[in-house]
Amino acid sequence: MKIKPIGDQGFLVEFEQEISPVIHGKIIYLYRTLKASKLSNHLELVPSYSSLLVLFHPLLVSYKKLEKQIYQSMKEYRDEERQQGQLFHIPVCYEEDFGQDMEMVCSHTGYTREEVIKLHTAPQYLIYMLGFLPGFPYLGGLDKILHTPRLANPRTKIPAGSVGIGGAQTGIYPIESPGGWQLIGRTPVKTYDVNRKEPILFKAGDSICFVPITKHEFEKLEERQIKGENVAIICQEEYGRGH
């Protein structure tokens, strides 16, 4: 572990430079320890694949003291203590209307639609970090079979909730945006809602599993969302059972 200064605004706590749940476990441990500390109101924390960015006002927080505190907490850390975050069950409709590029993924991988859905819904994906768009999760754990190159011509508009594959990654578009990922489905769950008390559903260190639903179920959930129900919580309860 290395602590590197970021100007006079804080530091970057850097771990081994690779994408692995074991290394990420240390980052999340440190992130949660600092969130629970007395200083947390003065800290801006940005966890990523292999580091934690810690920003603070240098006259309100002592660099030296915080540095010492971090070395101390990491000394106490054991890999076995790796804490699981929340597991989110995200319903996805993989039917044609939403998965425009499903055929592309099938022909690239040589697997059928059913097999692709099975492979995509099998793992628990770890959220390494959020960024690029508000609440966009960088997920680890996509089956190698499903790795599919991005579109040669990116789309200018991808609807919110779209689930796609881009190279070795899979993810959910939180808002309508341009993008080049292969779209395989869509979720009615709003992973980002500016009007919600907690606008972003996920935190780094949480996990996601995708649950296949029919178009009829998708539409029903969307209707409930329009009525003002919190579909994220409903799905947690309904699709969490049996997992």
Partner: protein
């Protein structure tokens, strides 16, 4: 009865900004907020507001505003030759605007961004704890977008029985770093950096280039980043890293070797090595540079950066630069 102000024209880019959104970078949401925080705070102090009240930030070319109520205002930052009802008005002091007054701004001189504050602030609901406009995610400020003609902003009604202390800034150029430099572009401005967090990706020669060669502010610059043109900075292998968090003032070196300095509307994570970070005190200065201006980087230590910051905050806390108007 109509209250507030009406936007007659918005200028090049005018948006509502405060000190920005705290605690959401981990979710991929930029802090946003005023680019030149020092000018923005001074504008608020001149109308006896809290430092962090929302103001209008105008860029390069200002707008014009019709007042639908009396209110105290102050103008700081770049000089956009403000006129009230076609007559010039002073910057850096409290001004009482009357109903039906029209305040107009022109092209910026000597800087890039101008701030307009209102006594009592702008009445808008904060989103995630801030009134700052997040232009790329389209929330905050007024409907999450830049101001447009025919928009109306609600202001605090003026309490006539409590006349405000009318203030004036004694020595704006002592407080505001950008005022120390020539008004005429292209200027050559020193910007201080602390090396890191990924300086080890670069050769000694690369770091020397950054330190010794001037860089020109590119036309491509905006609230997200200040892009620079000049000699490429030599790296050892490449500048690709595993994406990590980006701070205000991070100096990224992209694959073409040119520096990009990340500002308030930046993306929160990125995959280019960051050779250095601009010191906090020089961020407002950087925010006032215009395309064509030249930057000379100076490398300082973190301890030196802290010393300068302490000195500046001490000066600002004393508010000794604020004098009663007419005294």
């Amino acid at each position: 009865m109509d209250v507030g102000i009406e936007i007659i024209s918005s200028g090049a880019l005018s948006s509502i900004q405060d000190l920005g959104r705290v605690g959401y970078q981990e979710y991929g949401i930029a802090p946003t907020g005023a680019c030149d925080e020092v000018s923005m705070i001074l504008a608020n102090q001149l109308v006896s507001n809290e430092d962090g009240e929302a103001v209008i930030e105008m860029t390069l070319y200002g707008g014009s505003f019709r007042f639908l109520q009396p209110v105290y205002v102050a103008i700081t930052g770049a000089d956009m030759s403000p006129v009230r009802n076609k007559k010039p008005v002073a910057m850096y002091e409290t001004i009482l605007m009357q109903r039906d007054d029209v305040l107009e701004f022109g092209f910026a001189k000597g800087g890039c961004r101008t701030y307009l504050s209102f006594s009592g602030g702008i009445l808008l609901p904060p989103v995630m704890g801030s009134k700052s406009t997040n232009l790329s995610c389209k929330f905050g400020g007024l409907c999450g977008r830049e101001l447009r003609a025919f928009d109306q902003l609600n202001l605090q009604p003026l309490e006539q029985e409590l006349p405000l202390f009318q203030l004036k800034m004694a020595y704006p150029n002592r407080i505001l770093p950008f005022c120390k430099f020539s008004f005429f572009s292209p200027r050559s401005i020193p910007i201080r950096l602390v090396l890191g967090p990924q300086a080890e990706y670069f050769t000694e020669k690369g770091i020397e280039t950054l330190r010794n060669k001037p860089y020109k502010i590119s036309l491509d610059s905006n609230r997200m980043a200040c892009k620079l043109e000049g000699d490429p900075v030599e790296c050892i292998r490449n500048t690709d890293i595993l994406s990590d968090g980006i701070a205000l003032g991070s100096v990224q070196i992209s694959s073409n070797g040119l520096p990009i300095i990340m500002l308030q509307d930046r993306q929160t994570i990125g995959g280019y090595a960051k050779i250095a970070t601009v010191i906090s005190v020089d961020i407002p200065l950087l925010a006032q540079l215009i395309p064509g201006d030249l930057v000379n980087f100076m490398i300082v230590t973190r301890t030196e950066a802290l010393k300068v910051l302490k000195r500046q905050l001490h000066l600002r806390r004393r508010k000794a630069y604020l004098k009663k108007k007419g005294v």
